[in-house]
């Protein structure tokens, strides 16, 4: 079945005629994911991606004409919050916001509205999600995947690619890989994704890739203790050597007031019985040691 993206994904790309939107949408189409529509205001009626995709002025129109149910946003930071709100208002169920550098207070307001609309936002500042062999939304390279049963959830981009590549090389395929984004205010948390994986009959192992800052990994660990007993799991936490008080690239990756340290996250995960890899390369061995056969 997979989570968030799958065989029933009908994708609309907001910002499809921009450089990023065009580049990544081509890879998405190549992966076999149906992009049913693009949206760029004032370019309605045109066709994007060498004529393969109709462009609409508004998301509402795209939904009405094509039945789009998932959106991927490449709109620049100044317009991205509005793009998310437009998608939610148009009834899009699952909204991926790839855009980086959106002010946090904007997202605070946006997340509140998206919640009230009953939609799900993934990101911002996230690489998207791939359900190997089924669908890919966002910028994760399709080539690193293999079909299988391990769910991957991560706050990072390229670090996720490393972990997934290592799993693929070791013969461990993935049900869905989700990048939830590196910002302090995001629409979907680790815990939200764990709940989805727990309910997905095709996900039979989980890899959690966290980093310093916040307490999302600790919350996920506490929930896993209660609800994921018997599910083979592995984790990795980036930032063991990060200094306090410095933002490590991601706006959300900062140790402040002694909280959000890698040590605290590793301790919480280990206490939940989840082994934490010292290097992403150890993830396959940890899954195997946890009894994973897939």
């Amino acid at each position: 079945m997979s989570i968030l993206v799958g065989r029933d994904t009908r994708l609309v790309v907001q910002g499809i005629t921009g450089r990023e939107g065009d580049f990544h949408s081509r890879a998405t189409l190549e992966y076999g994911t149906p992009i049913v529509a693009g949206v760029t205001p004032n370019k309605g009626g045109q066709r994007a991606l060498d004529g393969r995709v109709p462009v609409f002025d508004t998301v509402a129109e795209a939904v009405r004409e094509t039945g789009a149910n998932t959106s991927c946003i490449y709109v620049p930071a100044s317009g991205a919050p509005d793009a998310v709100l437009e998608a939610a208002a148009a009834g899009i169920a699952t909204i991926f916001c790839i855009t980086e550098g959106i002010p946090a207070l904007d997202m605070l307001k946006v997340v509140e509205v998206v919640r009230a609309a009953g939609a799900r936002l993934i990101g911002p500042n996230c690489p998207g999600a791939t359900s190997p062999g089924r669908a890919k939304v966002g910028i994760i390279p399709g080539s690193i995947h293999r079909e299988g049963g391990a769910g991957v959830v991560s706050r990072s981009g390229t670090l996720t690619y490393e972990a997934v590549q290592v799993m693929t090389d070791a013969g461990i395929g993935q049900s869905t890989c989700v990048g939830i984004g590196g910002d302090p205010i995001i629409g979907t948390t680790f815990l939200d994704v764990l709940r989805l994986f727990a309910a997905d009959p095709e996900t039979d192992a989980i890899v959690l890739i966290g980093e310093i800052g916040g307490s999302a990994e600790e919350e996920a660990a506490a929930w896993a203790t209660e609800h994921l007993q018997g599910v083979p799991m592995a984790a990795f936490i980036a930032g063991r050597t990060a200094p306090e008080g410095r933002r490590m690239g991601h706006a959300g990756a900062i140790i402040s007031g002694g909280s959000g340290t890698a040590a605290s996250k590793i301790a919480a995960l280990e206490a939940a019985g989840i082994r934490v890899a010292a290097s992403p390369m150890e993830i396959p061995a940890i899954l195997r040691a946890a009894g994973y056969q897939g």
Binding site: I102, E112, P141, T158, E211, F236, G249, P280, M281
Partner: protein, 391 residues
């Protein structure tokens, strides 16, 4: 971005919060003249405070109170001679010292768990709030402001009662708490702290003592992602405290943080950059920096990153770790080749490029005699080996 206390106070003042007057000076002589003006205006004592962007000024001797102009001048000279946590003191805030009756803490932060602006208040003010949180967490009262409605009047009153500021100061406190949240919203701050917020005793126009609330210290951190729409706030960046390498990195759009080790790291993606540092440490080395060239970096950005890394004299080896997604491996390889041709000094380099266009990158690197590595762990081990033993 952190801003200085004096600038933070200006932002509070702009929202109508009660902040005692101050001047910012750069010399002991100017401190003396500012103090003389304060004494003339009726101050009994004057406070001199180092303006640096690090915490712990008080403990480091960066805050002094003096009762006459000579003493102020001496205090200012002493503070200007200090380095606080490695930062040379260059500026001082000088203003009337308040007669403090009681200190409180009031702060607003962006809380990622509840996805709210959380306002915190405590009757234990004047000390580090992290310390209160550790020793007596129940002494901190918190509530979330609605993302669209802000802090409501009843919420502000609730906080006032919780910290014992009902009675004569209720309205005053509620106005300050609402102004605190307004300061956050108007400036796109992710932290606004008033510590201490104090009940101070003053002499009224009739010669009678009056008590009122005043914001005696202020700390504000601004959201870097929002600075583009606040050019007036960008102008508050304290270039005195910014290292030249940090400045170049910021201007090039490179995420860079200098550390103390000997192995320079160049990576794409923040999570992978942290991981690369961690693996260098695990392999027995010490990373010299965190450096993320970002997604889609081209040859010129790679060259800039190389300059920034090599500007650190402690760097004895460089580890380049690129997982190409948006970033094309061959672009990075070309950037490395160009950078090496013009670099100021020769240090051994280990390069790992995987993902998009990795094979083209590999061919370029091989033709130009770069040492390469295939796996993450292998790359870290090779970099540590060529850098020699850690200090």
């Amino acid at each position: 971005m952190k801003i200085q206390e004096a600038d933070a106070k200006s932002l509070l003042l702009a929202q109508g919060l009660p902040v005692p007057g101050w001047e910012v000076v750069r010399s002991a002589g100017d401190a003396r003249r500012a103090a003389e003006r304060a004494f003339e205006a009726g101050a009994v004592k004057v406070v001199v405070k180092a303006q640096v962007l690090v915490g712990g000024r008080g403990k480091a001797g960066g805050v002094k109170v003096a009762g006459d102009a000579d003493a102020v001048e001496a205090a200012a000279a002493a503070i200007l001679a200090l380095q606080i946590k490695g930062i040379q003191v260059r500026k001082l805030l000088v203003g009337p010292a308040a007669e403090i009756v009681r200190e409180y803490y009031l702060g607003a932060i962006l809380d990622r768990v509840s996805r709210r602006i959380v306002v915190m208040a405590s009757a234990e003010g004047g000390v580090e709030i992290e310390e209160v949180a550790r020793v007596n967490p129940a002494a901190i009262h918190r509530l979330g402001a609605h993302p669209h409605l802000g802090l409501l009047d009843w919420q502000a009153r609730q906080l006032a009662f919780a910290v014992g500021l009902g009675g004569p100061h209720l309205r005053e406190f509620a106005k300050i708490a609402e102004g605190l949240v307004a300061t956050m919203l108007v400036n796109d701050a992710d932290l606004v702290e008033i510590n201490p917020l104090a009940v101070v005793r003053e002499t009224g126009p009739d010669g009678m003592a009056v008590e009122r609330l005043a914001c005696l210290d202020a700390k504000i951190t601004l959201d870097d992602s929002a600075l583009a729409r606040h050019p007036e706030l960008e102008a508050l960046r304290d270039l005195d405290e910014e290292d030249p390498a940090d400045r170049e990195a910021r201007e090039e759009g490179i995420n860079f943080i200098k550390l103390d080790g000997s192995i320079g790291c160049m990576v794409n993606g923040a999570g992978l950059a942290m991981t690369t540092m961690d693996l260098v440490k695990r392999a027995g080395g010490e990373p010299a920096n965190f450096l993320d060239i970002g997604g889609g970096a081209r040859a010129d950005k790679v060259a800039a990153a190389m300059r920034i890394i090599l500007a650190d004299p402690q760097v004895k080896a460089i580890l380049v770790n690129i997982f190409g997604g948006i970033t094309r491996g061959d672009e990075v390889a070309r950037g490395l080749i160009e950078a090496r041709a013009v670099q100021a000094r020769e240090v051994p380099m280990v390069v790992r490029i995987v993902g998009t266009n990795a094979s083209e990158a590999g061919a370029l690197l091989e033709a130009n005699h770069f040492a390469t590595a295939s796996s993450l762990d292998d790359a870290a081990a090779k970099a540590v080996a060529v850098a020699g033993p850690a200090r």
